[in-house]
Subunit: 128 residues, 6 copies
Amino acid sequence: MNPIEYADAPAAVRAVYDDIKKTRNVPDVNNFWKYLARDPATLKRTWESIKEIMAPGALDPLTKEMIYLAVSVTNGCPYCIASHSAAARKAGMSEAMFGEVTAVTGMANETNRLANGYRVPIDPAFQT
Amino acid sequence: MNPIEYADAPAAVRAVYDDIKKTRNVPDVNNFWKYLARDPATLKRTWESIKEIMAPGALDPLTKEMIYLAVSVTNGCPYCIASHSAAARKAGMSEAMFGEVTAVTGMANETNRLANGYRVPIDPAFQT
Amino acid sequence: MNPIEYADAPAAVRAVYDDIKKTRNVPDVNNFWKYLARDPATLKRTWESIKEIMAPGALDPLTKEMIYLAVSVTNGCPYCIASHSAAARKAGMSEAMFGEVTAVTGMANETNRLANGYRVPIDPAFQT
Amino acid sequence: MNPIEYADAPAAVRAVYDDIKKTRNVPDVNNFWKYLARDPATLKRTWESIKEIMAPGALDPLTKEMIYLAVSVTNGCPYCIASHSAAARKAGMSEAMFGEVTAVTGMANETNRLANGYRVPIDPAFQT
Amino acid sequence: MNPIEYADAPAAVRAVYDDIKKTRNVPDVNNFWKYLARDPATLKRTWESIKEIMAPGALDPLTKEMIYLAVSVTNGCPYCIASHSAAARKAGMSEAMFGEVTAVTGMANETNRLANGYRVPIDPAFQT
Amino acid sequence: MNPIEYADAPAAVRAVYDDIKKTRNVPDVNNFWKYLARDPATLKRTWESIKEIMAPGALDPLTKEMIYLAVSVTNGCPYCIASHSAAARKAGMSEAMFGEVTAVTGMANETNRLANGYRVPIDPAFQT
């Protein structure tokens, strides 16, 4: 499988690349998009969803990127960990914040299994 | 397996329950701790770790609870989703914030698999 | 979906049920087998594989059941956690052993994510 | 750990290698089998199970390989993604089919988490 | 959390419900959508993505539903397993097909871990 | 991200490194600790937890290491699989034991999904 570079991309792909570059203010798109471009419908849909979800809303972009990183670390996706570490740092994640995101992620993974192993029933107060 | 209530708990367990109640300002501990209490060493270690990790630091408690929730949703732990939804709301998560945490979590789980499926190599810029 | 009880089972299914009952010295098979029986080929293949894998070998049956439980807890499979907790106890797992299996399982899930998050490269000594 | 090549393999391992080569019409077995061969019982059992499961039945081999790929992508197993991408293509998966398998896999991973996060109760119509 | 019924839904939510009902030819939407409706933007985006992805293309709807089910089973999402079992049956999945989808899913989950445990390097032939 | 070597480590980090080296009787700590050292609080807490959990108790260190390996293989963490394979071998895991740990891990991952797919209800006998 080969990435699709801008120069070789059909118009529909170029339009997505252009929007990514403009929205993120970057000179080129990263590999994720260049590989996804082999399926232009998935490229377009994924970009539009990410653009909508990651825009500032009730949560700021930094918080969203740290949540994205925590999920990627939990799933063990090397590409995603690398790219969202970079994105979170760009959005303002300090070294101390990174340490805390990772510590919380590790702890949640541990207590998720303690709750599974002890077969803890949900408290009535948490049912609502 | 039965939960260990305060009245039936040995001194070492009561000491942990007391600290949880004081730290969180709650009248009783939730089921997670009452089941973990069957192994007092794990109860004590887990509480001390959570207390340290979830304290305000470079990240505020609300952000930490939302990350905890995102991991629990990714792992599909019903008890943890219920208890950390409640904890995040108590820490200030609005309905709109909940919607965005869940949307980011869902999207990250999707793109983690797109990156896996397309076998995307890590960009040199993300290697450092 | 309904379980297939012995009285209603075709001969090929009965033969597997009989072997499970004899091998495990139990009066009836548990639900897992009664549901799998809807696909007799999968029932037979799964039972033969489990019978071979869980037999005493370089590892004793108790150790194997505790590993089975640790994996089921990691994956969050409620049926498997319940049935393999019971199987491990029957094979000799004490309350203290259960506590330690669960503690190790929780810790491994935590450090797996710390290693992911910090993107730790494999030491040359571990490459071989 | 080293792979076991045909020339160095004991008779029991060679017999499995021969059956794989004949069944799949390939000149050599791939690395998965050469590493598994260190435990001849696991090699034999795994091959016999795969041979039975992946044979044409109610589903054709291409559909089975695409399901295998979707699971491997979900679990993030790099070896399995590489080998089952190749196997699915050999069985007839076109570039467009690959795009759709991956898109469905990504979407399912997303909505699995949306259902978890919103704690959606199962509709009575789906209980049966 | 409560589901949002049609009678109580705002216009933007009703429009999505109407499109789901028309597209799928059902009298009411299932719980997944009624819970997602609390975040109308996520409801709309998720439905539009699913509608596009699950439409007939290089793969037929039955194959897509079986892949969706295999992923849901791998992730252990009870709601998703229930709803996509029903959807796959409605699209034509027979009892025998269900047995094979589940058998392939189970086997893939097993060999994914055998490949991990034996640390099998990717064959040069699978690198391309 | 760079590892922190002993010579460059602050006193608090050196104290942990010293305790690891003494407890494990090794000349240097492995990469996991050198990367974690960027967050001294996480380094200290993680080491103290692991030291307590992995000490001989109701289970011997070899059994604990094999459970650790089974979890790491299930999660697909390459660093953890490499380091805990080495640790388990050092604690006495033979080639035959490794084969059985991996076979049980693979089988558990398979039957976890069969139980999910067939939606097997928990037997009353396993409820207690």
